[in-house]
């Protein structure tokens, strides 16, 4: 425990800027994954344990697209769209078959999908480490901001996540389609009775939620190592985020993801040994005090 270091960091603008940006880097990517998880749970009531595998798929799709085209934009779009498509297929042919069954059935099919994806990746890409490499556009020296440093790519990554998150929020809160989706979360029969194709809507929501994991994977690909099984650790972290933020709440996911980001960024300075403990601790405390999470509504399914 070194609170002195923490205070001296906070009082130096260089350190504060660097660590705040670190918090955002960690937090926003986590938010991308967790928001998809949360969206799917909020609307469909399904906990998509395969979300980490989707993140991995997004990273690998981006990796191969980048190798083929050398265009980061193409890689990014392919990652998002490809995983969105995988999500729709998964929803239609697999997870929709266990709607209304108990959570264990859902867990089981998701586990099956994780196993299949990990092996498919190993078959297609091999067991070794893959790294997409930094696209030329971002090969700049880190930006200097009040004495602190922020790499150009991370500025883009934070910005892109913010824009996507904001777009998602606007789409849900401000559009007609968003209203329907919110209604779907609360009363699917009613939405169905209004003549709206709920089957299609479920698939679409699942696809969008999955695409968010794909986006996260594509954004992570230039800086993170790709290996089979890479989805596991992010799955666990995004679970902590959704539980703290509240299952089904996008804003809650953002707050919780940033909370984790800040805990890790400043924990590394002030209390490095307790960071993990703090994350579990926060989760446990939230569960005990308000099981539905900071911004979640009670769900009885």
């Amino acid at each position: 425990m070194n609170l002195e270091a923490l205070f001296s960091c906070l009082s130096s603008s260089a350190c504060a800027v660097t660590q705040v940006s670190t918090a955002l880097i960690i937090g926003m990517l986590l938010f991308m994954v967790a928001s998809g998880l949360s969206l799917i749970f909020g609307v469909l009531g399904v906990i998509n344990f395969a979300h980490g595998a989707f993140y991995m798929a997004g990273a690998y799709i981006a990796f191969f697209t980048y190798q083929a085209t050398s265009s980061f934009l193409a890689a990014f779009l392919a990652g998002a769209a490809g995983v969105g498509l995988i999500g729709v297929i998964f929803e239609r042919f697999v997870i929709s078959k266990v709607y209304g069954k108990d959570i264990l059935m859902q867990l089981l099919v998701c586990y099956a999908v994780i196993l299949i994806f990990d092996d498919l990746v190993k078959m297609v890409a091999g067991p070794e480490y893959k790294m997409m490499g930094m696209p030329e556009v971002f090969a700049l020296p880190p930006l200097e901001l009040a004495g602190g440093f922020v790499p150009a790519y991370y500025v883009f990554m934070i910005g892109a996540s913010l824009v996507i998150g904001l777009g998602l929020w606007l789409a849900i809160e401000k559009t007609r389609m968003g209203k329907i989706v919110r209604a779907l979360a609360i009363n699917p029969q009613m939405v169905g009775a209004l003549g709206i194709n709920t089957t299609l809507l479920y698939a679409a929501v699942f696809g969008i939620g999955s695409a968010l994991a794909g986006v996260a994977g594509a954004l992570a690909a230039p800086t993170r190592t790709l290996t089979p099984g890479m989805g596991l650790s992010i799955l666990i972290e995004s679970f902590i985020v959704t539980v703290i933020g509240g299952m089904g709440s996008i804003v809650g996911a953002l707050i919780a993801a940033l909370l984790i980001g800040f805990t890790r960024a400043f924990g590394a300075i002030g209390f490095p040994l307790f960071v993990d403990g703090m994350m579990f601790g926060m989760m446990a405390i939230v569960l005990i005090i308000k099981p539905s999470g900071l911004l979640g509504r009670e769900v009885t399914r």
Binding site: M105, A112, V113, D118, D276
Partner: protein, 335 residues
């Protein structure tokens, strides 16, 4: 009727134990013994978890916490060299029960998916303690140097057949204990909680205490499973307490059946057989296993044992349509 139920279960248990014990003398291949010990350890874990999942409706994602605590407590006690195997086992069961009491006291207050999450959180917490407390646990390397098996009461578990028979006996004792719980008034009260906790509360059932009770029992049983595995591999490893271990136990339950008493054991046998053979023939066993799980879940939509039982019953019903429901229920105690 109740007396006879107990008697019949006892007879079945003795016969089953006799068969289990006879196996190494009939089929002398050591690999069959290994396989069975492995199935017994994991089967016991799944069975103990099913006291929560199938009997009480509590879906714990963190049951391996007690499995790993059993393995480590036992391993550490034996390595200390001060106690004999049976004493170490008793202390471990008691110690794990205490641990389950503390963790359970917090967890059982939460409902449904939130219960699942908090059990998962506690398990991850225990896993990370094992990883960090290197001086005691050996960290990620596990408990090294082997777990000594000093002879007791003339039994030498260094002999692999003796070890197998010992495991079979311990396993069967636990099965009998769980069977008794499953069929006791306590067990039926847990079914009330599983089906409708709110109503159970208005029937004077203290839900929190009942849940805590079964949580502690299930934890203690899981610790026995952990001890069997520790004895078998002569070590204890943090992976025993990783969430994938809990996950496997859940899959065993789902593969077999959560509502038949012996369903989880069937699931354990199926999963282990499947993994055993698939990994012999391909390194892509994850792919095969995943496809098999999907086929079972999407095709059967229930556990394999459930499916078989229903199929048998449909055939029976077709053959003898006159069977009345009453006689059916008289047999209820059978499983």
């Amino acid at each position: 009727m109740t007396r006879s139920g107990m008697l019949r279960d006892a007879v079945i248990a003795i016969v089953a134990l006799a068969v289990l014990v006879a196996i190494p003398f009939v089929f002398t291949k050591p690999s069959l013994r290994d396989f069975l010990i492995y199935v017994m350890a994991y089967g016991l874990l799944a069975m103990s978890l099913n006291l929560l999942v199938g009997l009480t409706g509590l879906v714990s994602f963190g049951h391996a916490a007690f499995f790993v605590s059993g393995a480590y407590m036992f391993g550490l006690l034996m390595q200390s060299g001060n106690v004999s195997i049976p004493v170490a086992m008793l202390i471990t069961v008691a110690g794990t029960a205490m641990l389950a009491l503390v963790i359970g006291a917090i967890c059982v207050r939460l409902k449904e998916i939130y219960f699942s999450f908090i059990t998962l959180a506690f398990q991850m917490f225990i896993h990370s303690i094992i990883l960090t407390w290197v001086s005691l646990t050996g960290g990620d390397q596990g408990l090294r140097g082997g777990i000594p098996r000093p002879p007791f009461l003339g039994i030498d578990l260094g002999n692999s057949v003796a070890l197998y028979i010992f495991c079979a006996c311990v396993f069967m004792i636990c099965i009998v204990v769980m069977r008794q719980i499953w069929q006791s008034p306590f067990g039926y009260t847990l079914r009330l909680i599983r089906d409708n906790p709110n109503r159970a509360n208005y029937l004077g059932v203290d839900i929190i205490r009942m849940k805590l009770g079964i949580f502690v029992i299930a934890g203690a049983m899981a610790s026995v499973a952990g001890m069997l595995l520790a004895l078998f591999v002569s070590g204890a490893y943090p992976e025993f307490g990783f969430w994938t271990t809990s996950g496997e136990a859940i899959f065993m339950i789902m593969l077999g059946s959560s509502q038949l008493f012996i369903g989880p054991i069937i699931g354990a046998i199926l999963l282990r057989l499947l993994e055993h053979f698939v990994s012999i023939y391909t390194e892509y066993h994850g792919l095969v296993l995943g496809l098999v799980i999907l086929a079972i879940v999407l095709g059967l939509r229930r556990g394999v044992a459930d499916f078989v039982v229903e199929w048998i019953e449909r055939r029976k019903a077709a053959r003898a349509p006159a069977t009345t429901e009453h006689t059916a229920c008289a047999k209820e105690g059978a499983l």
